[in-house]
Amino acid sequence: MSLQEQWIAFLTILHKEIKRFTRIWIQTLLPPAITMILYFVIFGKLIGSRIGDMGGFSYIEFVAPGLIMMAVITNAYANVSSSFFSAKFQRSIEELLVSPTPNYIILLGYVMGGVARGVAVGLIVTIMSLFFADLHIHHWFTTLFIVLMTSILFSIAGFINAIYANTFDDVSIIPTFVLTPLTYFGGVFYSINLLPEFWQQVSVLNPILHMVNAFRYGMLGISDLHIGMALVGLTVFVVILFVIALHLLKTGKRLRA
């Protein structure tokens, strides 16, 4: 396949993925917007006003970057895991597997579809947050880098989940039992400086804490941790998961008999 043909195949997958999540916008784009409004109203306005400042910002300004990040993570992951598993379940993935489309293009197409939804939901949530908080971007590069790399990372993770999944339950296990707890303990609603020393050290092992913290740094300019670690760590994780996903596609694990 020539590079031009590969580009067409990539755009076809990406277009299909974007069309899918926009077609079912009531399931994909609307719920995060409503959930985030509830978060902003309850944690920001009602409870936040009693909590006071955190890290030099009002509580609602402090939680806004974390909530945006939470939406990006869950939506990037959910998009790829549900779309790819659904294609596997309906066997429409065979359309791609019989075609000359190289494995890396298949992976990139699905991952960029996840990134598109993650970023789209991130934007929606950001716009919602502007009704409740006065947000500015402190460091553009860090903000954009973290959003893009985080959505890439969780899109690949969703892809790997979908490859291994045998049932729709298998697709929801990781978000429910792994992603949600890690996100809630990932400093979305609090600064880890509020935790006892022991739990601060335990929290540092949570990769989502680094992403949320780095994104908050990008927006507010405050940080509990070293930002460089988040940037390098994210890049390394993306490379590792990409190689694993590509290997799974190449060997045809759970895809070819």
Binding site: M1, S2, Q4, E5, Q6, I8, A9, L11, T12, I13, H15, K16, K19, R23, S86, A87, Q90, R91, S92, E94, E95, L96, L97, V98, S99, P100, T101, P102, G252, R256, A257
Partner: protein, 317 residues
């Protein structure tokens, strides 16, 4: 001439236990209309799965127009269009989108993809349904959609795995006509089928697969020449009171108005008619029982089973 499809010592062992293909070799020449026949579980779908890279082979090589599917997979796959046995498209997508996407996966530019999608949807009478979600189509339409999808990149080799299974007679005949047309236009076609009439009517060459081995690989014509008997059905006026006694012929009743007579190939039917007239049977119509290939197929598969049984017996003893 480079074969359109060349299989060499193709083996497939599932879960290190079940050997679905036991080293089959096969050549299909360009322009051929080739049938793969075999009972359920014979290895036909596994063979197609390996060719289309949906099944990982244990050993052997596959070449499509001289291109190895392992080393030249990109070119080999472009030559190939596959219509699977089961529906394998997204039920939520529209007919046109399904075909357009497949064109995109083969790298066809958008303009060309639109033209070819329209061409094949029209040829398969699906153009009016182009905006309909696939789940709303009838069974026959879904099958035609899979054919349009397989043809949109204009492959030189089209493989169809039981394309007319569950399709009504009228639609089956129109699909046969369509397949004949694209074969006449130069596309090599391989099909697996349970309808032996289909293979007899459409195909020039045939491979009979049973228990993972090719029992027979020859032309349909020469296969039919192996038949040394033909069966004719006679319909009588009124009710059949008793069966006629015909010297040297097997006779069996079909219903209260008809019976069948087995005749050696090439033998004159005059003697049969003379005896029927003498015995007072008034024949109102006569036809050839159209199960010729079926008889051969059953005979060959049974012979293969006997052979496999004998081999197992030998191993045990």
């Amino acid at each position: 001439m480079t074969p359109a499809l060349s299989l060499r010592n193709l083996r497939k062992v599932y879960n290190e236990k079940f050997e679905a293909l036991k080293g089959i070799s096969l050549d299909v020449m360009p322009g051929d209309f080739f049938a793969m026949l075999g009972p359920n579980g014979a290895g036909k779908s596994t063979t197609i799965g390996i060719i289309s890279s949906l099944v990982r082979k244990t050993a052997g090589t596959v070449e499509v127009f001289g291109k190895n599917i392992d080393t030249d997979f990109s070119i080999a796959k472009k030559y190939l269009g596959v219509v699977p046995q089961e529906f394998n498209f997204s039920m939520f997508e529209k007919v046109e989108d399904i075909v357009l996407q497949q064109a995109g996966y083969y790298g066809l530019p958008r303009k060309q993809a639109l033209v070819q999608t329209e061409k094949y949807l029209k040829q398969l009478s699906l153009w009016d349904k182009r905006h309909t979600p696939a789940r709303m189509l009838s069974g026959g339409m879904k099958r035609r959609l899979m054919i349009a999808r397989a043809l949109v990149h204009e492959p030189q080799l089209l493989i169809l795995d039981e394309p007319t299974a569950g399709v009504d007679i009228e639609l089956r005949r129109s699909m046969w006509e369509f397949l004949r047309e694209i074969n006449a236009a130069g596309t090599t076609i391989i099909l697996t089928t349970h309808y032996l009439e289909e293979a007899e009517s459409l195909c020039r060459n045939v491979a009979i697969i049973d228990q993972g081995v090719i029992v027979k690989n020859t032309s349909v014509k020469s296969l039919l020449q192996q038949l040394n008997k033909e069966t004719f059905i006679f319909d009588v006026a009124g009710n059949l009171q008793s069966l006629p006694h015909l010297n040297g012929h097997r006779v069996a009743q079909i219903d209260e108005h008809s019976f069948e007579v087995e005749v050696d190939k090439g033998q004159s039917l005059n003697a049969v008619f003379t005896q029927l007239t003498t015995q007072g049977f008034e024949i109102v119509s006569m036809r050839n029982k159209s199960n010729r290939l079926e008889e051969l197929f059953v005979a060959m598969v049974n012979a293969n089973k006997d052979l496999a049984g004998a081999a197992q017996q030998e191993v045990r003893s």
